[in-house]
């Protein structure tokens, strides 16, 4: 089991080690089937063509889940997610590797809660930022 990260040990400006992922077509289809998100641009080349896209795209909720998993892994099970915000800047595609990263932006106390803000991101294989995000985690 990972060691839970304590609030006191977290430093403002601290970088979270980046992680690479390969969202395979098979896994994305598994996700679409499980969540029943049969949105054509997630799996259909013809719709992607109509939209001027390179191919079927990764569903937005998958990218939010990646950021959440990435941050939870770094936290080692500590903390409770209070908020997550994402801005989808450009699409990511099936079978194209991506990199997830982030850093600590702020530590503070509010209404008796110890809170930490993070900036999070996803980069595509060309190094372009496809998702910009942020999250707030509380430590009770």
């Amino acid at each position: 089991m990972p060691t839970p990260r304590s609030y006191d040990a977290i430093q403002e400006g601290e970088e979270l080690p980046a992680e690479e992922r390969l969202p395979t077509h098979r896994k994305i289809m598994m996700f679409i089937g499980a969540s029943w998100q049969w949105v054509p641009q997630f799996y259909e080349q013809e719709t992607a063509d109509q939209m001027g896209l390179e191919g079927p795209i990764i569903p937005g909720p998958v990218r939010i889940a990646w950021l959440e998993q990435f941050l939870r892994r770094w936290l080692g099970g500590a903390g409770t997610f209070k908020r997550i915000h994402v801005s989808h800047r450009r699409p990511d595609y099936h079978d194209k590797p991506i990199t997830i990263g982030g850093h600590v932006t702020r530590k503070y106390e509010e209404d008796g809660c110890k809170l930490v803000d993070f900036e999070l991101w996803v980069d595509n294989r060309e190094g372009e930022r496809s998702v910009r995000g942020s999250a707030t985690v509380s430590f009770d």
Binding site: M1, G77, H85, R89, R90
Partner: protein
Amino acid sequence: MSERADPSSDTASDDADSLITPAMQAAIGSEGEPVRVEISREVVRRMAEALDEDNPEILAAIDGDDPHPVVPPYALICMISHMSEMNVPDVPGHGLMAADDWSYTNPVRVGDRITVRPRIADIQERIGGRVGHSLFVHHEWTCTNQDDVEIARVRRTIAHYPNRKPAPGS
């Protein structure tokens, strides 16, 4: 949000015409029928597998004896996302998620019966942006559990573009 669309396909006259129709204007502030979803252990398990979940605590909770384990927030995101978006009259082309903002107020557990109350918060357009004339629909959802306890508030922005031919080289 797509940046592959070819902005050169828009003409000046296209940009001059608002994409927001009277029907769309009337939809702003409207509330949809509540959407009800039960947090199913099997669906959470399948999503965890699709997402290559490797957190031992989450995996143990999903497969453990507790009939109502807490699930990761992404389970809620993934289970209610698509079915909670209200239809907006006259929106052009296909929609792409532009932004999502989730505030979690209480944990979600397997077996929870979630009610999502959706509304159209706002509709805006952008003329002459990087991807041409586009429309942004802001959805808001309030999620409560079977005890009427609020578990999350969500604001989702969907970007709509008129259908386009493939951009060169795509």
